[in-house]
């Protein structure tokens, strides 16, 4: 799928659809629609979730789903306020997301509801609880 087709497809589920260069689409969705959006992508045979990125933006945490769409890459953003860091798991849509969501939980403290295996992935066994290394407030 090229960028225009991807942009057309995602427009129903997201705002601020922005085409960057010839190969990338950035779009912002919200908590009501992101599951629908990802399911719609899967139903269009876009099954490769490249990764999930979490970015600490101060008051919010931005979660970006990077989906490989053949010729292009879709970056679907979801902003969460730090007071309400809970999302639904997407492992039933993209089974390959299982490690990325574990990563998100331990590095940024986002709660993923319904995750089949919410254990620690990278951090050592004696890592203090409630400290999320990729948060901005964590300094050396």
């Amino acid at each position: 799928m090229n960028v225009n087709e991807v942009a057309r497809l995602i427009k129903r589920y997201a705002d601020e659809v922005k085409i960057v260069g010839t190969r990338q689409v950035f779009a912002a969705t919200d908590k009501e629609r992101y599951i629908e959006a990802l399911a719609a992508l899967r139903d269009n045979d876009l099954k490769h979730l490249t990764t999930i990125t979490g970015v600490d933006r101060g008051d919010t945490i931005e979660i970006i789903y990077h989906i490989h769409c053949g010729e292009s890459l879709l970056n679907l953003k979801l902003a969460l306020p730090k007071t309400d860091l809970e999302i639904e798991t997407v492992t039933d849509i993209f089974p390959g997301a299982i490690l990325y969501e574990r990563d998100l939980m331990e590095m940024l403290g986002v709660q993923v509801r319904g995750h089949p295996d919410p254990r620690r992935l990278f951090l050592p066994d004696d890592w203090p609880k409630g400290v999320y290394p990729l948060r901005k407030e964590v300094k050396k």
Partner: protein, 139 residues
């Protein structure tokens, strides 16, 4: 002691342990086994168990999670043992200095006998480091 030292010096057995390194040194350690460098001609044999080893080759900065495992392996290695720090990471943390999960360098945790600097050191340097470590086995 004299006879055992003679044998150990003629054919030291090596255990290689990665404490969180990037793999660059590890592949150079393995490259030292292969035809161009071929350390087995010098009697140096690589082993899988710390209980068989005389020399511990350590690569990588020490990460929090691997520290305890490394200390256990260090204790399992019988005396006399020699520790060789391969690469810049166990020597000085290299580029990983200041990372939250790195608790190195190696000499903070165990005594180190030989340092082989380089990122990564070439196989010749690693072999030379091991040979320099041999007299320390007779302590």
């Amino acid at each position: 002691m004299g006879l055992m030292y003679f044998f150990r010096r003629k054919s030291p057995w090596i255990l290689h342990f990665n404490t969180g390194g990037c793999n660059g040194c590890d592949i150079e350690v393995v490259a030292a086994l292969t035809p161009r460098y071929d350390v087995e001609r010098l009697g140096i044999v690589r082993k899988g168990s710390p209980r068989h080893a005389d020399i511990l080759l350590v690569t990588g900065p020490i990460t929090r999670q691997s520290r305890d495992r490394f200390l256990r392996i260090y204790e399992q290695t019988p005396e006399p043992k020699v520790v060789v720090a391969v690469g810049n990471c166990p020597t000085s943390n290299c580029v990983f200095n200041g990372c939250y999960n790195v608790v190195g360098p190696l000499d903070k945790h165990v005594p180190v006998d030989v340092y082989v600097p380089g990122c990564p050191p070439i196989p010749e340097a690693i072999i030379d480091g091991v040979l320099k470590a041999l007299p320390r086995l007779g302590r």
